[in-house]
Symmetry: C2
DNA sequence: CTTGAAATCCTAGCACTGCTAGATTATCTA
DNA sequence: TAGATAATCTAGCAGTGCTAGGATTTCAAG
């Protein structure tokens, strides 16, 4: 009896629709426009249906964030293809990271700025986050026994640049100079 | 007739109470607990009175953020007292910055994470923000004609560390190592 | 094909939010 | 003391996340 499979497939598809709608609305009108009623209207179901898929609104944001971590990991892996020297490798990585944050600001917001409960979420979060971090670590590497200090710090520098740029606290014109500067600090790592 | 002066003094005092209450509630229960009704109850006035002081809720958050920028500038200025070498100066600055973010997480959140409209706010924001930035620049300095690139990047590194640490994305135990690492990258600036 | 159970879904509503119009009260001037 | 002005409150709107309980559909057994 394939009826159970069909139902579960339809459920999965509907769940995909919910996160897709949430992401689309957030990216075009901000996360405050992502309301349960709006999402329900979008998928053409009543509001309570959403709560059979997600525990609450934050869980929807978290689901989108996990998507984001997976995509970021993929982007970083592609950017970290073995390059000639360390400088161009780091530059490629940093460019990819900052490009991602600029192309998907709402997604990045869901990943880092929004829900404080995300770090306690399902194991998916952990693995997706670790995957993205691993992509960073593979490129930044660790000199001697620094135990990932360099990777964490490099990540923090990129994240800080992304956030300050997004909020308009640093000059957008000097973007490339800052990128070159931060890469320069880390080539001799 | 000092009646007008008294009234304006009382108004200013009440305004101070509002931001103080907002800040206190935010720091103890998060910004989501800072509601207009709650603030009204706190200052023992009805809700509409708040709107004779601030245009909307965001303006209250912005007012708290400005306070934060002023305090951060003060903290950084104190930490940037002329030291022997550049390394200890940078280390003192970074320690002060990260200490501030840890001691006033909600305040820092209002300053950087929360309202996207803050950068367009009153001139007070600009001056307060510039003041804090100047305190950073005075210590980091700029080698040659980099036009503040080093300062912006250093700031971004600190901000990134603060955010990733707050959200539990990097190990809290390695805090000092990261601080030493980032300072190390910038001594030869 | 019909029937009863089970899964599915929707209507209606609660408590809360930011915000505001209009009535009410207090305050000061003449 | 009377009138005008300023200050304040009451009551309510539209919207939010979320949920209980009833209605509907779906499916398996007779």
């Amino acid at each position: 009896m394939g009826v159970a499979e069909r139902k579960s497939r339809e459920r999965a598809e509907r769940e995909r629709c919910i996160t897709a709608a949430a992401r689309a609305i957030a990216e075009s009108q901000g996360w405050s426009a992502v309301t349960i009623r709006r999402l329900a209207e979008e998928i053409e179901y009543s509001q309570p249906v959403l709560y059979s898929h997600f525990e609450n609104r934050d869980a929807i944001v978290a689901a989108v964030a996990i998507e984001g971590f997976q995509e970021l990991a993929s982007v970083l892996r592609k950017a970290a293809r073995p390059k000639a020297d360390r400088r161009t490798a780091l530059r490629s990585l940093a460019t990819a990271y900052l490009g991602f944050t600029r192309q998907h600001p709402a997604l990045y917001e869901a990943m880092f700025t929004m829900p404080t409960s995300l770090r306690f979420a399902a194991a998916d979060t952990e693995t997706a986050l670790r995957s993205a971090f691993a992509a960073l670590a593979a490129c930044v590497g660790q000199s001697g026994n620094d135990d990932g200090i360099a990777v964490e710090t490099f990540w923090a520098a990129l994240h800080g640049l992304a956030e300050l740029e997004r909020s308009g606290r640093i000059r957008p014109g000097a973007r490339n100079e800052r990128l070159a500067f931060v890469v320069d600090r880390f080539v001799t790592g």
